[in-house]
């Protein structure tokens, strides 16, 4: 486990990861078990949704409906709560993986060993990818257990597409925070900016149509390409997934380029 930077990062994070995974698993399981009660009053709730001020309705998701398990999951999990949790986890980890070691001073000792900087960063990115995958996998497990419990069937292929989308969005913001420390920002600043960009771009995308923001502005938001809820009914949108993955690679390249060139802070 300690024979590589990747392995050591997994080892370091094991407790935090277990905590996050269990929390997300339980949250998803718990929320899904509400579905039968909600479904039985779906008509009333849909009416209620339609009478909500448009801004609130938008926050719940474009295809908000409590009529189907997919609509329910979109509103209750995929639109906001689940990505919010996984993003918080990934932004913190992304900012901390280089930034934390630089802050505590262990980065000097680590990089005085015969390991190239780019490799340290790539291994830390790989660990981030695996962590967020495990955290999301735990959420998926909770969701599936929940649907079994309430006896609802869900298309696993489409669920897979939604999971891929949430994972890519999570990685995107995690890698953004990593990139910010890569170019020299402190851990706190990188986490703050990462979280700020995530929140602002979420609002731009969700409230954009109501505030009459131009479509082009919404297209700047990574959330525009996030299909967590939509994929449950419509399946994978390859273009959107590719775009999110492309942005992850761009941020990773920025992180590598910046980290390779800069001075390490004392």
């Amino acid at each position: 486990m300690l024979s590589s930077v990747f392995g050591k990062n997994l080892y370091d994070m094991r407790r935090g990861l277990i905590g996050w995974s269990i929390s997300i698993l339980l949250m998803n399981l718990w929320i899904v078990t509400f579905y039968p009660a909600i479904r039985d009053s779906a008509f009333a709730l849909d009416q209620y949704l339609q009478n909500l001020p448009p801004a609130f309705a938008a926050l719940l998701g474009e295809t908000a409906s409590f009529n189907t398990i997919e609509g329910f999951l979109t509103v209750e999990l995929f639109t906001f709560f689940w990505p919010a949790l996984t993003l918080a986890f990934a932004i913190g980890s992304g900012a901390g993986t280089i930034g934390g070691e630089e802050e505590s001073g262990t980065l000097d000792l680590l990089l005085s060993h015969p390991v190239p900087r780019w490799r340290v960063l790539l291994e830390k990115f790989a660990a981030l990818t695996v962590f967020s995958g495990i955290a999301i996998g735990a959420g998926l497990l909770g969701l599936i257990l929940g649907t079994l419990f309430v006896n609802e069937a869900i298309d696993l292929g489409k669920l897979g597409a939604a999971i891929l989308s949430i994972w890519l969005l999570t990685l995107l913001f995690g890698t953004l925070s990593l990139a910010l420390t890569g170019v020299g920002l402190h851990r706190g600043a990188a986490a703050g900016i990462g979280a700020g960009v995530a929140a602002l771009s979420f609002l731009i995308n969700t409230l954009g149509p109501l505030a009459d923001l131009p479509e082009s502005l919404r297209r700047v938001s990574p959330w525009y390409y996030y299909d967590g809820g939509v994929a449950l009914t419509e399946g994978l949108k390859l273009g959107n997934a590719a775009l999110l993955a492309g942005l992850v690679i761009v941020f990773l390249a920025v992180a590598l380029f910046g980290f390779q060139r800069r001075d390490l802070a004392v």
Binding site: L2, D108, L109, P114
Partner: protein, 300 residues
């Protein structure tokens, strides 16, 4: 054979204050070289430049002929480093720390690690966060020494070690030197440098003030000495002796500073009855002053 360390007009500027300027220095393989200067003089900056942790503003540094910036990994393979502000992974035990860094080096001899731990009286089993600062430094030394590097970069390495462990550390340094290891030891502690080093560079405010053999540093060093006689002694007998200055007599107490040999002053003192002699080790600042008086030396 290329120099163990070679600095050529090496500069690093951080805006106005800190940094180093135009360092030229050569350290030969097998030397134990002292890098002496007060805190903030640029010692750590120099060492971090050698390790490519920071990049020079201008100039060049090389280790065993390898360019520190262009070939950092080849450099790191040959170097062991103990940072001045040593930080370790708090949750790893000593043993796990050793295992992690050993793996990054492609493996080390476990028998040697155990021997080092034993000689430094260090318990590898505990988590790093429970170690005292002295114990952390021991672990840092083990990590630096375990791969038997050709060059050791020690940034204030013995700070915080208790005297017995310091002796063990100096003994290990002597053995390494006998085995051909080059040691570059930064310190603000003159007696330490005098004790273990062959040559010393003195750095002050980012500039090299002098590069000296230890023996000539000692000869140059000013010492303040106090001699207590059983009677009042005439001050005139001691004024004007070779290397002696600032002579004064208060009651039966003669104080002066002397540079180099003590022979003439002791011969003069021997004409009277001496009760006690007290010698004060020069502070670093006094050593610098002795270099600054007259012209700045730069004998490489």
């Amino acid at each position: 054979m290329p120099e163990a360390i070679r600095l050529e007009r090496l500069s690093k500027s951080y805006g106005k204050q800190r940094g180093v300027l135009d360092l030229d220095l050569e350290v030969q393989p097998g030397e134990v070289f002292g890098y002496l200067g007060p805190n903030g003089a640029g010692k750590t900056t120099t060492i971090r430049l050698l390790l490519d942790l920071i990049r020079p503003s201008s100039g060049r540094a090389s280790i065993f002929g390898l360019d520190c910036q262009a070939q950092p990994i080849a450099v790191h393979r040959r170097v062991g480093y103990v940072p001045g502000e040593l930080a370790l992974y708090p949750k790893l035990t000593g043993e796990q720390t050793v295992r992690h860094f050993a793996a990054l080096r492609g493996g080390v001899d476990p028998a040697w690690v155990n021997q080092l731990a034993e000689r430094l009286d260090f318990d590898l089993k505990r988590p790093a966060q429970t170690y005292s600062s002295g114990n952390k430094r021991k672990l840092g030394l083990i990590v630096a020494l375990m791969a038997r590097p050709d060059l050791l970069l020690l940034d204030e390495a013995s700070a915080g070690l208790d005297p017995l462990v310091q002796q063990a550390f100096y003994q290990i340094l002597r053995e390494l030197r006998a085995a051909g290891t080059t040691v570059f030891l930064s310190s603000h502690n003159l007696p330490e440098v005098e004790r273990v080093c062959d040559r010393v560079a003195i750095i002050r405010e980012g500039k090299l003030v002098a590069v000296q053999e230890i023996s000539s540093l000692k000869a140059k060093a000013l010492r303040r000495i106090e001699i207590v006689f059983d009677n009042h002694v005439p001050v005139a007998e001691f004024e004007g002796l070779a290397g002696v200055r600032d002579v004064s007599v208060t009651d039966r107490r003669l104080t002066f500073t002397v540079q180099g040999s003590l022979d003439s002053i002791f011969k003069a003192a021997a004409r009277h009855t001496v009760q006690n002699v007290i010698s004060y080790e020069p502070s670093l600042e006094e050593v610098f002053l002795s270099f600054y008086e007259g012209e700045v030396q730069h004998a490489v």
